[in-house]
Amino acid sequence: MPLTRSKPKTKKHLSDNDYQMEQSLISSANLQAFFETLLQSGRIVVAPVLKQSGKVFFQPVQAYSEVATDYIQTAFSAKSVVFPKVETLFSFVRKDGEITLTDSLNRIPETVVWGLRPCDAAGFDYLTEFFLRENPDSYFKTRKEHTTLITFGCKEADNACFCTSVGLNPGNTTGSDILMTFMNEECYVEIMTEKGQQAVALAPSLFKASEVRQKDAFLAKPATRFSIDEIKDKIKHAYASAEWKQVSLGCFSCGACAFACPTCTCFDIQDEGTQDKGVRLRCWDACGFGMFTRHSSGHNPKNNQTERRRQRLMHKFNYSVDNLGIVSCVGCGRCIRVCPAHLNIFENILSVTKD
């Protein structure tokens, strides 16, 4: 029997609001003007930027010219916008026996993430479920409320992409506030939420109304590696599979997969400073690390890489289904591209669920 603390409730996407979806068109030439309008509105705009290393990373930009357009996927996801790698929860000062706490939440700026992929947007949807479902996390909630997600459908996919295997596709709207799809010289715009509408309302003249269009012909067709319904069923019985050892032998025990992943949420709380002045921080953690589940006694229930790799894959395809009703892998393929040993998540999943 899987351990389920509470019965999964009906999934309620943040994007499933009362907003009536709208469609419009923007010319490719006007995209830049829209981008600049967002910048001028005082919002922080986070977009993909090509670095000297040849990798593309999300980071705040000041001009449209900085934005990378020719890339399949960024090296890291954009989750750091709502779940930073290091987040100050509060700071404290002790003076003359008095302790003063300062909350860090009143400084969250209005932010637009530009250039997400549909899998990334779906990742934000999972994060929202994870952080807000049962015990709402005020830090995540505040950041998410101040974030608008502008996604671009994928024209190209590579061999690591497998969104269609986890029930998503290169044009899914899940999680996006706006989804743009390039169609020749125009961009088809699906405005999914009120936040999306507010962004468009900053420069309404750049957009013109459109009928509903078929996007498929303009989107990539990544290979489908498995049927998610079959996998969800089979993986329930995969815990004891002898294959876990083989699929994890190459694992180096680093945190690259978890830190690149749009849906990995593990964190570690750290205090830094002195007794008189310091901060409490929330830092990313990863199940690949040897310290991950080590108890203060020294005992570690996940004492080797086989158990830790199993934890990661079972969490994505089984535990999160039990807990939240969602497969928490969005098929972006980042963990495959970033892994120093190129461990392949879909290959591994197929190995441990084979009959």
């Binding site: 990373f57 680093c254 921080l281 080797n304 120093p340």
Partner: protein, 268 residues
């Protein structure tokens, strides 16, 4: 050549020389993935292409691998040099190891002895990658302020996934300093200052031990050219003490040896 490798490995399995072969297999066109062959029937998975970049010697520290027994390993230049360095640091003593490579003439070589490996490495494996050397020279030509700006800029992108440590065959401490938390020597949070602390510590621990395989920089998810730190430190050690790492199984390393005739004039 690939067939010759597969045949040789089959032979090694069949005559009982090895029970595990660590090599590469191909998948998803551009990647070569480390593979662990435990049955002779799997030997046909083995490939040898320019994409076989990983330094496989790091797996020899892994307990699951050590347990298997007689290990065969195929090495590119970096792997062969790190094997020599690991032997010199007494790290491979308890292993029954068969080391293979493929030379420039595409011939499979099985090294019969450590001496043979030394001869091959000295003749065929470069000490430094010329591209790394050019970048190090460029950094050394900068002013101190420019260099500081360069490295703080680069290291602010570090997320402390510790992949650099994980892929490094010379990072074999069973408990790393960053994992000591009473007290916490190195900040766990991944911000520029804590990132600098971590990478400075790593470079110092590898000074004169790093074999410049460049894996740390090659695999860094954040794209930071981390190998430049250890290449620079190695060259400092070379200038001060002479000798290059990873060319001899007996060299030890400069910061862990002493001679009675050392002048010690630096002690005041």
């Amino acid at each position: 050549m690939m067939k010759a490798l597969q045949n040789k490995v089959t032979e090694l399995f069949e005559n009982g020389t090895i029970t595990l072969m660590i090599g590469f297999r191909g998948v998803l066109d551009k990647f070569a993935i480390p593979v662990f062959i435990t049955e002779v029937s799997q030997a046909d998975q083995l490939i040898w292409t320019p994409a076989c970049l990983n330094n496989l010697s790091v797996y020899l520290h892994k307990s699951e691998v050590k347990q298997v027994g007689k290990i065969g390993i195929i090495g590119n230049a970096g792997t062969l040099r790190s094997l020599l360095q690991l032997i010199s640091e007494n790290q491979l003593k308890e292993l029954e190891l068969t080391i293979l490579t493929i030379n420039e003439q595409n011939e499979v070589i099985v090294f019969a002895s450590t001496e043979e490996l030394e001869v091959y490495v000295q003749a065929n494996c470069p000490a430094y990658n010329p591209e790394d050397q050019a970048l190090v020279d460029k950094l050394n030509a900068m002013t101190r302020e420019e260099r500081w700006k360069y490295w703080t800029g680069q290291l602010s992108a570090c997320v402390k996934c510790y992949a650099c440590r994980a892929v490094c065959p010379m990072c074999y401490c069973s408990v790393c300093t960053v994992e000591c938390n009473q007290p916490q020597w190195i900040k766990l949070s991944s911000e520029t200052e804590g990132n600098l602390e971590w990478h400075i510590m790593r470079a110092m621990h590898l000074a004169g031990r790093c074999i410049n395989c460049g894996e740390c920089g090659r695999i860094c998810p954040a794209g930071i050219p981390l190998q430049l730190l250890t290449v620079q430190m190695n060259q400092e050690i070379e200038r001060a003490f002479g000798g290059k790492t990873g060319f001899s199984a007996k060299s030890g390393y400069a910061l862990n040896t002493f001679k009675t005739e050392d002048k010690e004039t630096f002690i005041r």
